[in-house]
Amino acid sequence: MGRGRDEAHPGELTSVAVGSVGIAVAARQPLRVRVRELLDREWFLGPLFITPALILLVLLVAYPFGMALYFSVSNAFIGRPSHLVGFRNFINLWQSDAFRQTFQNAFVFTGTAVAFKLVLGISLALLLNQQLWFKRLIRGAVLLPWVIPTALSTLGWWWMFNSLYSVVNWTGIALGIMDPPGPNWLGQKYYAMTAVVAVNVWRGLPFFAITILAGLVSIPRELYEAAETDGAGPWSRFWWVTLPMLRPVLTIVVLFSTIFTFSDFNIVYVLTHGGPINSTHLFATLSRQIGLESGRIGEGAAISLYLFPVLAFVVYAQLRFVRKQNY
């Protein structure tokens, strides 16, 4: 603005400059006020705050999800034109032995891992809730498995289960509880599933323990005191006070964990690559094998979305349950 005025009236520089300052101040004042007023209004401020997150969600979650939905009902092949085929992918998948095995694996893996994480998570949280020496240090250390990148920590587990160097077997043999050469952890169906579940439990336990601990800390002491006055022992206090009070937290933790465990990828990919004979394949690993390595993204998307309706219903039911709890 200033330069334009310079060119128009080169001889009146000083007076114009003073004038322009005056104009600028006069014009800025109402704008600031107007903005402030605008920010005071909920209809404007609310969407303003939500917009960045919404843009991110649309770009990074909704759009890929929409694409996945489309792919799953099309014969999409990487880099080639595709057309819709309805639910054919979902129906054809059921004829595949590898897929049926994967379907079964997913439930065994998730069911076992979440059950172990729940029981061990509650136990660990109760332990961490006690007055322990180095309490903070221990609480911090418990989180470590959750903080280390999974691919990296799983590689460590791979060494521990490795047929040549297995420290698990070495220890077992040294202690006399295993016969040499010890179990073939990643080469036999049930051992391999045990191994991948064990690593998943190891990794997911801190999430359970710390979240449940937060729930435990928030239970009012008076409830325990009242129960003790009524003559309740430790088991009764746990069963009738702790557990009911933890239920909303447990529901949320189990819900999240179920979804994460169903969609686990790294552990199986690094440890077993889905083997032996597809006995540890999960939806995500099989989906990669078919969708990316073999180019059939339509079928790959169908595999990863196979359980979407079931999981969506579980999420809906659990969230409804939590809302009813009025906690």
Partner: protein, 423 residues
């Protein structure tokens, strides 16, 4: 020189107007730039050499080149995402039959391959199978990694064992090796090495998965049964159950750490042992992959270089191909840096000087060898690739060696293959 504002505006404005009027960018903007995505080679020195050659290429041609490396396991996902988004690198290095998967997305490079074949002789059979798609070269054969037998020559000599020539010969040798505590190490799991060896065994027993037409499943045969029976007795008498859990590194490590007495692998197992000065290195030697009643067909891992169709620098990319592979001295230098892990892909270069750099490479010369890629003799269509990638072959063998009757295991594989071809 003092530049006034007026002078600056006049000169830049005129320049900009000139660019707009003529449509020709200034000299600086004209510098062409290409990008090249390749795997992190298991022979790392060859990646360093590639970078060095890239710098010389820029100096000689004025074309800038950016070379990126990713782990082999990530290549499939990266290729897929570049094709889906139609953005990324100009050139890509591809493993085995990948050019078939991306055929519609790859530029015809038959002209470059024609020039190279004129100079170095025909591309080897496996390179041809992998990159020559329906009458068009979709990628330029770059180098290949052979599967040879790596064995503990010191143990063989000690026990008076004869170097095997056929897979059947390996059985008595393997029995002795296992007794000595140095079993044979052939993985039977969901990894690439398992597939590679399984194909080699299958072919040399005269069996095939899918016929030449790419449509007829022929796995259910007496020859396949013979191959499976061979695996069963090898598993029982010459190997340990650990092979069911192995990944691609495991057989290398087993040989390097002094356990396995014989493995079937690219020569990286020896190179690593030698470079890390492991005690086993001196005792390791190589012999050619084995034959059988069905002939002598060897599994091979050819790698080739393709140009995405979405690239805006096709000609500059071809210049890089011609520079790296078409100049004999540069190609030689590149191959020499790879310690015989990367061998040239053209028939007249079989007797390459790299094979004389170590006495342990002497048996790796490939004249007259019938090299093939996964799925041969069927053309590597996407359905045939899915058969390979689904680990049906190693899983059929794994089922058989762990108790499923041979017939049943083969019938299972046949049903799975038929289902994929019909889909």
């Amino acid at each position: 020189m003092h530049v006034t504002r007026r002078r600056f505006l006049t000169s830049t404005g005129t320049g900009f107007a000139a660019v707009l009027a003529t449509g020709i960018p200034p000299a600086r903007g004209q510098q062409r730039e290409i990008s090249y995505l390749c795997w992190s080679n298991f022979a790392p020195a060859s990646d360093k050499k590639l970078a060095e050659i890239g710098q010389r290429f820029t100096k000689d041609t004025g074309i800038k080149i950016r070379i990126d490396h990713i782990a082999s396991a990530q290549q499939a996902a990266k290729h897929a995402s570049e094709v889906q988004t139609q953005a990324g690198h100009d050139l890509v290095e591809m493993r085995m039959e990948t050019p078939w998967l991306y055929e519609p997305q790859l530029v015809d490079v038959s002209d470059v391959v024609g020039e190279l074949e004129k100079k170095y002789g025909k591309a080897i059979s496996s390179a041809h199978e992998g990159a020559y798609v329906k009458g068009v070269w979709r990628a330029v054969p770059q180098y290949h990694q052979i599967f040879s037998a790596a064995y503990r020559e010191d143990l063989f000599k000690k026990a008076g064992l004869k170097v095997p020539d056929t897979w059947e010969d390996l059985y008595p040798v393997g029995k002795e090796l296992k007794k000595m505590g140095n079993p044979v190490g052939i993985p039977i799991s969901q990894n690439w090495d398992s597939i590679s060896t399984a194909y080699a065994v299958l072919w040399n027993f005269g069996a095939r998965e899918v016929d030449k037409d790419g449509k007829t499943v022929v796995i259910n045969s007496a020859e396949t049964a013979a191959a499976v029976e061979w695996y069963k007795k090898m598993y029982r008498d010459c190997m340990e159950p650990e092979v069911l859990s192995w990944n691609d590194q495991s057989n290398n490590e087993s040989l390097q750490q002094g356990k396995a007495g014989w493995i079937h692998n690219p020569i990286s197992a020896y190179i690593v042992a030698r470079n890390r000065k492991l005690v086993t290195a001196d005792g390791i030697n190589h012999h050619r992959s084995l034959g059988g009643p069905g002939g002598r067909h060897e599994i091979d891992v050819p790698r080739s270089m393709g140009i995405w169709k979405f690239s805006k620098n096709v000609e500059a990319s071809k210049e890089w191909m011609r520079y790296l592979l078409g100049k004999k001295e540069v190609y030689d230098e590149y191959i020499m840096s790879g310690d015989a892990f990367n061998l040239p892909s053209y028939t007249n270069l079989h007797d390459h000087p790299v094979l004389k750099t170590d006495a342990k490479f002497a048996n790796l010369r490939g004249e007259g060898v019938s090299y093939h890629i996964y799925g041969w003799p069927a053309p590597p269509s996407d359905k045939n690739q899915l058969i390979t990638n689904s680990f049906i072959l190693p899983n059929m063998i794994a089922k058989a060696v762990t108790g499923t009757p041979t017939k049943e295991a083969i019938a299972w594989a046949e049903a799975e293959m038929k289902r994929i071809l019909a889909s």
